[in-house]
Symmetry: C2
Subunit: 438 residues, 2 copies
């Protein structure tokens, strides 16, 4: 296998076994980027010399017998709305063309302290919100969107340019690009990974997560954040048979927005999970969940108005008109609208938590269908917002190929803070759901 195609789990194992150096892996990724970036445009900032020097440092640590972290030697990319001290952080906004934060965001610092090596910054929608789009194209068909707002992070991993990347999700910015690009992603439980140093959009919703090319990759990074055991075999082993795993098949109140390709992937996934031997039950969500989409949309606008108030006061002329309009002081939401949205969200969270007393994971669509043929669109988050609002961990798994030849995925969803359990169940189910490429 070409070096740049090694997934995170394979690469970290090859490095640990002395079969591969961090420098060789970094150079392979940089070569792949050099070959592909004109087409895919996943990256905003790459500093090859610095990345190679940092990889060499990790090789030196290993040679000197110094302790090596669980991500030792792995190159990684960071969505450019997450702070890095050694590379620019622009949030894809003209307000911050030369911004250089004084410290790394917490997720970047955790990855580096765990041995990973920063490769570069990936393109994003302006402030990961509503403004300027990433230039990134879908690696499967350059005329189609890679999704957003974690556009570059999703495309770079899918295109074998880097083994893992960080992104963020406030609506559907991690899971939807995973589906569009045909790769894996974890949106962990809300607040289980520090958002410090990720540009704030909505405190209730913003979640840092990551892309990889296998469930084991997602678990590997999760172990660095103490979301599962560091021993991957232990972290991903099912202590009971798949037959005892109860999977709730959940079309969500947004099912009316599903496209044929999305429905096909979803039904295929449900069938494959059933064939794998899991106990599959149909779940119809209670009426309280019908309020979640509206609550999500109210909260993102209300909290966004607070988050961007200082920029509205000082730099409104440099904000994208769509951003400026949505968060305009003149369009402030009445307090009662937010109060009601929070009340609905609280009731929804309690109700979903109770639902997870009856199933282990939910299976739900990850996106309406294939990636739209429109680089100015990022697709719809209609199948993601509800889960983001409800704070539960979501894991994207590739499933089928649509009529346009583009990948379509599904997502598995766990109870709040049961990220480790979700990873275990996903590891057992993914070989069946993602059977076409195995």
């Amino acid at each position: 296998m070409e070096t740049h195609r090694l997934n995170a789990t394979q690469a970290v194992s090859a490095i640990r076994d002395g079969m591969l150096s961090a420098e060789t892996l970094m150079r392979a990724c940089l070569d792949r980027i050099a070959e592909r970036d004109d087409a895919v445009k996943a990256w905003l900032h790459v500093d090859p010399a610095r990345a190679i020097a940092a990889a060499r440092e990790q090789d030196k640590r290993a040679r000197n017998g110094q302790p090596c972290g669980p991500l030792h030697g792995l190159p990684f990319g960071v969505k450019d709305m997450i702070d890095t001290a050694v590379l620019p952080t622009t949030y894809n906004s003209p307000i911050y063309p030369d911004h250089r934060p004084a410290k790394d965001a917490a997720c970047v610092a955790t990855a580096r302290a765990s041995g990973a090596v920063l490769l570069g910054k990936t393109d994003t929608v302006e402030f990961a919100a509503f403004g300027r789009r990433a230039a990134t194209c879908n690696p499967h068909n350059l005329a189609h969107t890679a999704g957003g707002s974690s556009s570059g992070s999703g495309a770079a991993v899918a295109d074998f340019q880097v083994p893992f990347t960080f992104g963020t999700q406030t609506g559907g910015s991690l899971i939807r690009p995973a589906s569009f690009n045909g790769t894996y992603a974890l949106k962990p439980s809300w607040s289980s990974v520090s958002t410090e140093g990720a540009k704030l959009l909505s405190t209730s919703l913003d979640t840092v997560g990551w892309y990889g090319r296998a469930v084991s990759d997602l678990a590997l990074v999760a172990s660095a954040f103490a979301l599962c055991a560091e021993d991957l075999e232990e972290a991903l082993s099912m202590h009971s048979s798949l037959r005892r795993v109860r999977v709730g098949v959940c079309r969500t109140p947004q099912w009316g927005a599903i496209e044929p390709a999305g429905a096909q992937a979803f039904e295929a996934a449900a069938q494959r999970v059933r064939d794998a031997g899991a106990t599959v039950v149909d779940i119809t969500l209670a009426p309280v969940f019908d309020q979640m989409m509206a609550a999500h949309d109210t909260i993102i606008v209300g909290e966004g108005q607070s988050a961007f108030r200082h920029l509205q006061l000082s730099h409104a002329h440099l904000m994208h008109p769509e951003m400026a309009r949505r968060f305009a002081p003149a369009n402030l939401l009445p307090p009662t609208a937010l109060r009601e949205a929070y009340r609905h969200a609280a009731l929804g969270r309690a109700a979903l938590d109770a639902l997870f007393d009856t199933v282990d994971v939910l299976l739900a669509p990850a996106a309406p269908g294939e990636a739209p043929r429109d680089l100015q669109s990022t697709g719809s988050a209609t199948f993601n917002s509800i889960w983001t609002l409800l704070h539960v961990p979501c894991l994207a798994v590739p499933c089928t190929t649509g009529p346009q030849g583009l990948p379509v995925g599904v997502q598995l969803i766990g109870a709040e803070r049961e990220d480790a359990k979700l990873l275990r169940v996903a590891a057992a189910l993914a070989p069946f759901i993602d059977a076409e490429r195995q």
Copy 2:
């Protein structure tokens, strides 16, 4: 009145009327600090020359007829766990002795864009969490604590060193110091003021707020954050009589922790509110609220473990032993503990929101009693954590003087996002509650 004693409302009005310049006010504050800082120790970083130059800039704006914001010319202090680009930001941690963020925190940027002038950084408990204490003493008796973790911010305003300051509350770090120091504070609704650039401790709980010496001061700053109307008279006018205001007197499930001085303040406040003509009803909280303190404590530890993971991995030796122990990877909470805490919090938020359909505000203790005579203590947050967890706005009002000659306050609490209503009711009630000093 001596210039440094002008409260924020008086000062901003005197500047607007041309009776006072921003520079004169800044110099008066700096003189007061020079006189008092050896005793009170509220400040970690003050740069007088820069502060005076910035005040002059505001005076120049006014002379040139440029637009002036609602906080035009007001000096302000910032708790040193909130980022400032022109002054160091140490979080009172030896990990960051020379840290200089590349941009201001959102609250600082909003205040500056509204015309306020940064005076300096105030002392804080390490990371506003559990570590090294602020050196700050209570200005009413230097042998007593000023409270914490917003120690310097509370003391500086109470001691007439600056008209307003920013602080943060995760347990009771704004309201408790207000009570101990005899001043006013607003902890706004959670996420109604951006926490961007405030060191993250607990996403569910962290709230940026401020100190002032009158309800009108709190409203003035709130107007800069669009939490109430910019026209202060409009913002604080009651459109109906006090008789129609329903005040719920709430001893909270923690009443067993009240001290005689705290009980006296609380009963006095309830009587004064009754005498003022408000409709006063006794509120006994439903059993669901008995779970709030435990849920708060679980969430602060669980989210703190996520927030400080990167520092645990890279700088554990420089963390205070109390911090390191509480957030140690070895002491990770089981997911079920957090899951249960979040479920309780959700149920509590929905229940409290329904309670606010029957009352306009709650009256509750702000602290157990007077400030402890112990500079290594910051007092107990037992009367604050429940409201922080429940995301509702809290406003501290001074009330009585205890047997040791120290102030004791109470708090008024509004429904989530009803900050403007809380400010209006508090403006009407504060002259009665705080009658002894008027």
